[in-house]
Symmetry: C2
């Protein structure tokens, strides 16, 4: 059994702790956070500390704190030659302190504390320098998910960039759709089946293949109608830029 200390209590660590503790109570031996946190009833049995000097001996230390704090934080750890990993998509493995063995354990998903997550289908992207560490991370990944892939920092940064497009930016477009309907007293619910089908389609067909819409067709009349509806707002700019980008792509 791998013993794990979690360092930080961001969304990723929150869900990892919850899931791993359910699978195997004894593997999660401690949670550190720089300030007190409210662990829910079940998790409250896990030893908790706000004192770095008191972190326990473990096989694996998982850092789950904001990206820009990872490097400096890893230098402050009173550990030597331990396996210390972070869970970030965009931070290089090399950012970690060289006093310990470095690694990454990046679950490619969007996490909110108030929403349950099923790790089973989530790709777990792992990286480490030493073979034994890779094996440990692979085994831990396999205990959570059907999909564990070894991906280096360069590839991971591109994966993370792509994730920003299909998650953060897509969600922003959902919000714009929501605004347009809200301003006209129409319910966002009306769009759910369309949102779902759009997401579902690209599981079997490539997105370029299924692209539709006025920009794809070069349908200037509809595009002008839409720009007229949007007037001169910031959404009008985005509409134009996305339309231009699509027209360029499809030679319209």
């Amino acid at each position: 059994m791998t013993t794990i200390v979690f360092l930080g209590f961001g969304n990723v660590n929150f869900h990892l702790i919850n899931t791993l503790y359910k699978h195997n109570k004894d593997s999660v031996i401690q949670v550190y956070n720089r300030s007190e946190i409210n662990l829910n009833k079940e998790l409250s049995k896990i030893p908790f500390t706000t004192d770095l000097s008191k972190i326990k001996e473990a096989d694996l230390y998982i850092i789950g704190i904001p990206d820009d704090a990872i490097a400096a934080f890893s230098e402050t750890l009173p550990l030597k030659n331990k396996l210390v990993v972070h869970t970030s998509g965009s931070v290089s493995m090399e950012a970690l302190s060289k006093r310990n063995r470095k690694g990454v354990f990046y679950p490619l998903q969007t996490f909110s504390k108030n929403r349950e997550v099923n790790f089973n289908t989530i790709p777990i992207c792992i990286e480490a320098k030493e073979e034994a560490d890779l094996e440990l991370l692979t085994n831990l990944g396999n205990s959570l998910s059907e999909k564990v892939v070894e991906i280096d920092s360069d590839e991971r940064s591109k994966l993370h960039l792509a994730a920003v497009f299909v998650n953060n930016f897509v969600n922003h477009l959902y919000a714009i759709g929501d605004d347009i309907l809200g301003n006209n007293e129409l319910s966002f619910d009306l769009l759910h089946p369309l949102i779902e089908e759009t997401a579902s389609k690209v599981k079997t067909l490539s997105p370029s293949e299924v692209q539709t819409g006025p920009a794809r067709r070069g349908d200037q009349k509809t595009i002008e109608k839409h720009l007229h509806l949007l007037k001169e707002g910031p959404e009008s700019e985005l509409y134009q830029q996305l339309t231009e980008s699509l027209m360029k792509k499809f030679d319209r």
Copy 2:
């Protein structure tokens, strides 16, 4: 029973014909298209014509042709005072010829011929001038879907605009994600769980509420890393514009 003649064989009519014919063979009494089409084996029993002068008497005529052709086409119909509807999100009901009773039957979904559709959850947006016509369209809608809503042309045009954001533009962002991964020999499959969860989240939480990512956090370091990865391509421009739009929205 409502008898229906379908005029045109675009994606929407294709799926409507398939579904209605399965429910009730006798309601689909004819399909017109300006050129010969290959109806699949089952549908080949439906009377078909390419000759407008031969279209039959029916309770309802459903036009399913490209948006910019609807107005002119409706003028050429050798019909008088019949209920003639189109299936478009962006074309006003008034675009239809005044020689007939006008209406709209707009299923709010994205349709591809090679992908089956379950109408059950698809919002059917209807519009008509006369009470009896509204009732006929409501009944037809109810025979297909749990969600039939009366929406006028003005509202429908805004709904369609919102649909362009959450479907056409979102799909374009999927394609960009696909490109980024493809250029780095990573499989688009890795993003499916994220795409699915992003779409699923907004069924219960509002998109603004669940927005995450570097732009939302104002994380300039990650944004600069991403722009560096994208270099000066068209995707870099879109990244900047979407990031600016997000930062403005969240006061970053």
